[in-house]
């Protein structure tokens, strides 16, 4: 006993007191910082209801649930009410009406116009004029229909008259005209509008807007399927939209309006647009949750924290599909992907400029194994015509097959022999051919496989991994031998469609190779751009695909399916090749069903 009193000697007590004070200080410190952090989003709508779910009882429910046997599987309709912001305006039925989508496309800043991925998500609140239907045709969305005249220079769009902004104003053709001109002046990637738009007139009579361009352009309807229509009376005041950021509500005319952007919680919240006259969506709120780590997204799907998955121009990771199948309450929407992964040789550099050499390369790749390993069965061996079957005017060209012997013969016949007998073929200049495959980290596995295939036919190959920025610099300066890259759905439709945008040397851009100068190809592209007549377009499309099959400017590696998992409790998903499930039809048709 004496010792304990002894222990509480003056010095030690002071020391304990000091540590306790320090701990309290640290706690208050992080509270103040946190409150300043939360207050940082000052224009958050203050009616953000502080959820009644305190940390303590949430922890208790978790632990209770843990011991009640379900190992980590929380039913979405289970006893734990989600603390989403919407559960306050809970409609009559017990479960809350919130549709949650998981996505890996994390937005960097809360700028509707400035951030490209936020621009895509904003299609729900500010839908563009046109949209692409399931078969790949461009049809009207905000505009009922459109008409083209004067040799493809005058485009007239007839706007639907039952559209209202979420602040009650009516959607007018002035809004559409303002939005298109606004993008032209203010955003660099829409600067082509500024250069080519002569004038634009609005007629209230038939609720239409007409754009007159100074030169014929057949793809205006395609381009207008990507620009979100903004309310003129709101955005007029904003001088520099690219730099304008706000987390607060944006005025939208779609079925939902963008209510809150919460970067720290990593989610977007869309509320039902009270003035929406179209088909009433079932859900009060749509939440888009950002997951920078795909495994965590799969976990969210398994735990019911998310109902479906969306990735722009990409599929749900094939390796995670089996996990969702095991849970048994997921269905999968499969659509052949318009984009594909391809091997792009540097056409400006020997020996890749020699078509025979490219043909040999094409024959040396084991497409079956590549498809099996990369897409785990959700992909197929591609045709030499490069364009996947999901595209309009698809032409069946001859399939690529794996025949290393044929490849070696082609090389020998084309004059690449192994004179010094070291097992490596020499190029026309007599030196050993050293292929350097330039890849980005996410194509590492593909690069390894290609490396091994080329080694088998006597070409010494090496991998060079670089980060995406270095890749762009090296690609634009043609400082590479071969490189593996992908095409996106929009990229395939770009320029004169069917992937021509990637090869036409007259076009620059981040993802494009711009390495094909063959005049025949360039003429073919110009012909496609000059006509809107479908029969002519089909003829040129077939010519283009035959050109790809004969010359192999790029060797497609595999055609993959874009797979979108969705919870069985929901039905009515609708996907289009351009934006997958993220379109108005999905959000207005999806209903909750008791599986």
């Amino acid at each position: 006993m004496k010792q304990i009193k002894h222990l509480m000697g003056l010095e030690l007590k002071a020391r304990l007191k000091r540590t306790i004070i320090l701990a309290i200080l640290v706690l208050t410190f992080c509270l103040t910082i946190f409150s300043s952090g939360a207050a940082g989003q000052e224009d958050t709508e203050n009616n953000q209801p502080v959820s009644d779910e305190g940390f303590f009882n949430r922890f208790i429910t978790y632990v209770k649930n843990l011991f009640s046997g379900e190992e980590g599987k929380l039913h979405s309709s289970g006893e734990i009410p989600k603390t989403g912001a919407a559960d306050i305006q809970q409609s009559a039925e017990p479960e809350q009406a919130v549709l949650k989508i998981a996505t890996p496309d994390v937005i960097k800043s809360a700028s509707l116009v400035g951030d490209t991925s936020l621009g895509i998500f904003a299609h729900l609140s500010n839908p563009p004029l046109m949209k692409m239907d399931a078969e790949g045709h461009i049809v009207g969305q905000l505009a009922e229909n459109y008409s083209v005249s004067e040799n493809n220079t005058r485009w007239t769009f007839y706007i639907r008259d039952d559209l209202y902004w979420s602040d009650g104003e009516k959607v007018t053709p002035e809004d559409v005209e303002f939005s298109i001109r606004y993008y032209g002046e203010k955003t660099p990637w829409a600067s082509w509008i500024n250069d080519t738009l002569e004038n634009s007139t609005v007629s209230d009579a038939d609720n239409s807007v007409t754009f007159k361009f100074n030169k014929p352009y057949t793809r205006v309807n395609m381009e207008f399927a990507t620009y979100d229509i903004l309310p003129a009376h709101v955005w007029k005041k904003i001088e520099n939209p690219v730099e304008y950021t706000s987390n607060g509500p944006y005025v939208g005319c779609g079925p939902y309006y963008l209510k809150l952007i919460d970067l720290n919680a990593g989610k977007l919240i869309f509320e039902k647009n009270p003035y929406w006259k179209g088909k009433m969506p079932e859900f009060e709120t749509v939440e888009i949750h950002f997951y920078s780590n795909v495994d965590v997204a799969t976990l969210a799907l398994k735990n019911g924290e998310a109902d479906s998955y969306y990735k722009y121009a990409g599929s749900y990771p094939y390796s995670g599909i089996e996990q969702l199948e095991k849970t048994g309450n997921f269905d999968f929407l499969e659509k052949t992907n318009v984009g594909l992964v391809f091997l792009a040789p540097n056409l400006k550099k020997a020996p890749f400029s020699d078509p025979k050499f490219r043909e040999a390369l094409a024959d040396s790749i084991n497409y079956e194994e590549l498809a099996r390993l990369e897409t785990l069965g959700y992909g197929e061996v591609p045709n030499s015509g490069f364009v996947p079957s999901a595209m309009e005017n698809y032409k069946e060209t001859e399939k690529l097959e794996y025949s290393p012997e044929k490849a070696r013969e082609i090389l020998k016949k084309a004059g690449y022999s192994d004179s010094n007998g070291n097992g490596i073929l020499e190029g026309k200049d007599g030196k050993d051919i050293k292929l350097e495959i330039l890849i980005r980290p996410d194509y590492a596995r593909t690069g390894e496989l290609l490396d091994e295939y080329f080694e088998q036919i006597g070409l010494s190959a090496d991998l060079k991994t670089v980060d995406s920025d270095t890749w762009i610099t090296l690609k634009d300066s043609y400082n590479y031998d071969l490189t593996v890259t992908r095409s996106t759905p929009w990229g395939m439709l770009m320029h004169s469609s069917w992937g021509s945008g990637y090869f036409d040397s007259r076009r620059t851009g981040q993802g494009v190779m711009h390495n094909l100068e063959d005049p025949a190809f360039l003429q073919l592209c110009d012909n496609i751009l000059a006509t809107t007549d479908s029969a002519e377009l089909q003829k040129y499309a077939y010519e283009l695909q035959d050109y790809y099959a004969d010359n192999l400017p790029a060797i497609p590696l595999y055609w993959s399916k874009s797979v979108t998992p969705f919870n069985r409790h929901f039905e009515g998903w609708y996907a289009d090749p351009l934006y997958g499930i993220y379109n108005l039809d999905t959000f207005t048709n999806v209903t909750k069903v008791e599986a």
Binding site: Q3, K5, H6, G9, L10, E11
Partner: protein, 365 residues
Amino acid sequence: MKILPRNTLLERNTLLERNTLLERNTLLERNTLLERNTLLERNTLLERNTLLERNTLLEVRDLEVSFQGMETVTVLSGISFSIKESETLALVGETGCGKSVVAHAIMNLLPPESRVKGNIEFRGKSLSEMNEKEMAKIRGREIAIIFQNPSLALNPVYSIGHQLVEPLCVHQKEKKKTALYRVALALKRMGFVNFSECMNYYPSWCSGGMNQRFLIAASTILNPALLIADEPSKGLDKKCITELEAELKNLKMESKSALLLISHDLDFVRRLADRIAVMYAGEIVELANSSSLFENPLHPYTRGLLNSLPEKGFIPIPGFSPPLNSLPSGCRFHPRCPLREKRCIRVHPEIKETGEKAVRCFLYP
């Protein structure tokens, strides 16, 4: 070749030892100390003869200490002596004969791998059987120790005041304020003029001498019954030693505390000690009161020691004291003993008590 006597060599080392500005301004204190010094001389004489009636404070009976390192080394064997109330016993011997181990053994401060045999009784209570807790209660309150290297013995990161207050707080649970006041008083008694400033100095700022006096103040603040001074004079220059002497004498006078003085400096010991025990190679070879030891030393080693004093002609003892892990057979002094006989080499002599004296040598059967 005349070898410089050891302690002048010592002085050059102490000069190197940090000796800061403060040292100089305590000039005025020094003369106050000198008068008190002469006063003390007179009454120690009359006091010496009342030594016999007081009861024994500390009884050490054939203490043996060995260390289990790579191989077991017996550092001390057959040590027995006793100290009466307010009596000063000095333990004298060359460096390496285990004097400090005795002090540590008494205070039970030896490292864990040491093995202690024999019995140490303090006021009837046997110290060797006590566990750490009970021992902690005695240390500092009843037995205090002054280590030899004052600068290292004081904690470098705490102020002097804080360290002096500690024994009071630990043992007597005093409030910081009253304890500080008592410390100030003790420093004033020690002769410090600027004691309030000294309280918040740090050991690294003061010289060796200053630190030594702080140590003494710290150890004697609870006026312990027994004070063990382990080589207090080592590392101090001449004038500090005289001050230290005055200090210890003053201490014996006022607090009546017994003093176990461990040193190798014979002059210092002669002036202070009532009885002196001479140690050689881990055992006591002669025990006598100081005056008789200096007049007629019995043991050849004691004689050799006295002859090596400056006033006796600097005659050093040939050879070196044996390392403790390889002791010679028989009498441990025989390799260096001029009066060596055959039996000294074979048989190890026992210590023989003759009245006040005790000696371990065959010359005195």
